[in-house]
């Protein structure tokens, strides 16, 4: 490890020699964005793409909530409703949350590591620019005769094979491209972290933010190929006469669920571990303390990642597993609560007796800690096999994963965006508007998702366009919360546009409690940073360990 970091002593120095011609001047107009290999440009592209996809997926959710506003079928056909839920899930997972985190990685990792750029800038360009094609295929299928995928984002066979509406091929190709993009992005992150760290930055001196992306990237490299494999089997089952999941030919549809969730469960940690990294950066900054238990955070993140590989069948308790299997997956799942609990404890301990102030990034971070924990608790409930038989496929599950993904992942993305917007744009954001964004989001998101717990416990199944009359009142409130939450996100758009256009000039370090190498460069961050590596003094100052 030591030699590794010493290696880079002159790497950054000489970096200019080898990549100089790519970076010396910016192109103008559209070409700048098409051909860019600059990590900051690509980070910006990822973040905008993610936000556009977020609004797209959100628009689909608005139609879903409008249909569910009252019982009976009002606006859409059941089949189109299924297309809406399916594409909403796929867009939010693969189009919004994951690219947003990749955007953070691109923007922040080189600056946090004291590196001049990502390790593989040209591949970086590719991994972004194939994404719009993937989503053009996926969203374009809405306008095909067959319609968009309607088999749920989990695309269980035989729904996606025998009973598919003909959209399976579009879906499979879109997922393949998304997978290739994610794998390229992940390889870039791993190589950057392993080879591009500034001299003197050992692994255990890296910000926790970097650690979470490091581990997430490994998870991606391990499971995205499995996803690619399972959609390929789906494709050949549907169009080329194989029988991986078709009982008539000796296959087994339950096996689909095993392979899918072998990817799917690590995938949910891919969407939350970077969130842990972001709030582990913001909470210490606004508590004016070092992160409590840095090393335990690293080990907890690694444990969560490792455990994520042996819990997949908790999504399948009702498929008729033997008792031993159910117990095994139940206990392993519950075990994940231990490292997760360590993290929540550490965030709270970081705030304990800190000099707290409540700027917008901190508000989102505190909301993250509380609401993510609620999502974690409902996850713990779902982990219990006996009660899972009641909760399975109900709105309780919907409530659970929206608490961890919306008030978890998304809120952390907002925390990070507000935290680094001054660094990205060189301007402070409009504080009043951002507070409006926070409070409107906080209230509406709970109105949106909290009643879903009770709907689920009362037996309302997920993925239905119509429901029994006794669920009407709660669904009305949920829909009102949904519309309010959707509209609140437009405030964020306004904040960002205003912030790019102007505003109070941001100093290099606008948050007095913030640590990290990114605050040693000017705001907005110059197009090229750390062409010469940071000093050991700067690296030691950025160390998240308490001293």
């Amino acid at each position: 490890m030591t030699t590794d970091t010493l290696d880079n002593a002159s790497t950054a120095d000489s970096h200019h020699d080898s990549f100089g011609d790519n970076h010396d001047h910016k192109m103008t107009g559209i070409k700048r964005w098409l051909y860019t290999t600059n990590h900051k440009d690509i980070g910006t592209l990822y973040l905008w793409f993610a936000f556009i996809m977020f609004l797209t997926g959100g628009a689909l959710a608005m139609v879903i909530r409008a249909e569910l506003f009252q019982p009976g079928l009002q606006l859409v056909e059941p089949d189109f409703f299924n297309q809406l839920t399916t594409v909403h899930g796929l867009v939010m997972v693969f189009g919004a949350i994951m690219p947003a985190f990749t955007g953070f990685a691109n923007w922040m990792l080189p600056m946090m590591l004291g590196a001049p750029d990502m390790a593989l800038p040209r591949m970086n360009n590719w991994s972004f620019w194939i994404l719009p094609f993937a989503f053009a295929i996926l969203l374009g299928s809405f306008f095909m005769e067959s319609g968009a995928p309607n088999f749920g984002w989990t695309f269980y066979a035989p729904l996606s094979t025998t009973y598919s509406n003909g959209s399976t091929a579009f879906f499979v190709f879109a997922v393949h491209i998304m997978g290739i993009s994610s794998i390229m992005g992940a390889i870039n992150i791993v190589v950057t972290i392993m080879n591009m760290r500034a001299p003197g930055m050992t692994y255990m001196k890296m910000p926790l933010f970097v650690w979470t992306f490091f581990i997430t990237a490994y998870l991606l490299i391990a499971v995205m190929p499995v996803l690619a494999g399972v959609v390929t089997m789906l494709l050949t089952d549907t169009y080329f006469g194989t029988s991986f999941f078709d009982a008539a030919g000796g296959g087994d549809p339950v096996m689909f669920q095993h392979i899918f969730w072998f990817f799917g469960h690590p995938e949910v940690y891919i969407m939350i571990l970077p969130a842990f990294g972001i709030v582990s950066t913001t909470i210490p900054a606004f508590s004016r303390k070092r992160l409590f238990g840095y090393s335990s955070m690293v080990y907890a993140t690694s444990s969560i990642a490792l455990l994520s590989f042996i819990v997949w069948a908790h999504h399948m308790f009702t498929t008729g597993m033997p008792l031993f299997g159910e117990l095994f997956f139940m206990y392993c799942t519950m075990l994940i609560a231990v490292p997760t609990g360590v993290k929540v404890f550490n965030w709270v301990a970081t705030m304990w007796r800190g000099s707290l102030t409540f700027e917008t990034p901190m508000l989102f971070s505190i909301a993250f800690v509380i609401l993510f924990t609620i999502g974690g608790f409902s996850g713990l409930m779902l982990a219990m096999t006996p009660v899972d038989f009641q909760y399975h496929d109900t709105y309780f599950v919907v409530a659970h994963f929206h608490y961890v993904l919306v008030t978890g992942s998304l809120f952390s993305i907002y925390a990070g965006a507000y935290f680094w917007l001054p660094k990205w744009t060189g301007h402070m954001y409009n504080d009043t508007l951002s507070k409006w964004h926070f409070w409107c989001s906080l209230i509406s998101v709970n109105l949106l998702f909290f009643p879903m717990h009770f709907l689920g416990l009362a037996g309302m199944p997920r993925r239905i366009p119509d429901y029994a009359l006794q669920f009407a009142d709660f669904n009305k409130w949920v829909s009102i919360g949904g519309f309010a939450f959707g509209l609140s996100q437009l405030i964020f758009l306004a904040v960002v546009i205003k912030c790019i256009r102007g505003g109070e000039k941001a100093p290099a370090k606008p948050w007095d409690g913030a640590i990290g190498l990114e605050w040693t460069v000017a705001s907005p961050a110059p197009y090229h940073t750390f062409s010469t590596p940071p000093s050991q003094q700067d690296i030691d100052n950025a160390d998240q360990h308490g001293h």
Binding site: S14, I187, M255, F262
Partner: protein
């Protein structure tokens, strides 16, 4: 820059030039790509692994798909197990398909012969394939088929019917907490695949 000298020392990682750094990057990328390829293969390897695992443990209710010999040493008249038969048509096969008797009581070790009725109501020839499944799944390894129509494909001309036989016995070792077995057949149209 002493590139050559250091190229020899890449393994102990003392690079001081950008070109060795690129070499390092390439090495890491190659290793990671290897992991990607291996995991893609692993996804497919899960298919046979799953089959073997289920075969050994009998977890997914799959019964033997080739005939076995009758090997029970005796008949356990102290126990009676109810065996139920259900049938189901998969999407798009216009056959009548049902068990002649819906259930039968057997003693473990006792051989039984039952039949299933099938009729092709379509105006064209169809090849059917029945796929069995036993519930509870754990009992699958204790349900032995000596002869079954499901071992082979069933071609049936338009409008023709047939009685198909199943000969089986329940293992003496069947766990004592299992008193009822349900044998379910799903019938698939495999005309295209068999031609």
């Amino acid at each position: 820059m002493s590139i050559n000298k250091h190229k020899a020392n890449i393994n102990i990682s003392t690079n001081t030039t950008s070109s060795t750094n690129i070499n390092n990057n390439n090495k890491t990328v190659k290793k990671l790509l290897l992991v990607v390829v291996a995991m893609f293969g692993f996804g497919f390897a899960l298919v046979p692994l799953y089959d073997v695992f289920c075969d050994i443990t009998g977890l997914n209710g799959k019964t033997n798909d080739t005939a076995v010999a009758y090997t029970a040493s005796s008949v356990d008249k102290t126990r009676t197990v109810k065996v139920q038969f259900i049938t189901r048509n998969a999407k798009g096969i216009p056959w009548e398909f049902e068990p002649v008797i819906n259930e039968i009581n057997v003693h473990p070790g006792e051989m039984k012969l039952v039949s299933f009725y099938a009729k092709n109501n379509a105006s064209h020839d169809i090849v059917g394939q029945a796929v069995p499944s036993v519930s509870p799944g754990l009992a699958a390894n204790y349900f032995h088929k000596i002869e079954c129509f499901c071992f082979t494909q069933q071609p049936l001309s338009a409008g023709k019917d047939i009685e198909m036989s199943l000969q089986f016995y329940v293992d003496l070792e069947l766990p004592t907490d299992i008193n009822t077995l349900t044998l379910s057949y799903t019938l698939y149209d495999i005309t295209e695949k068999s031609s």
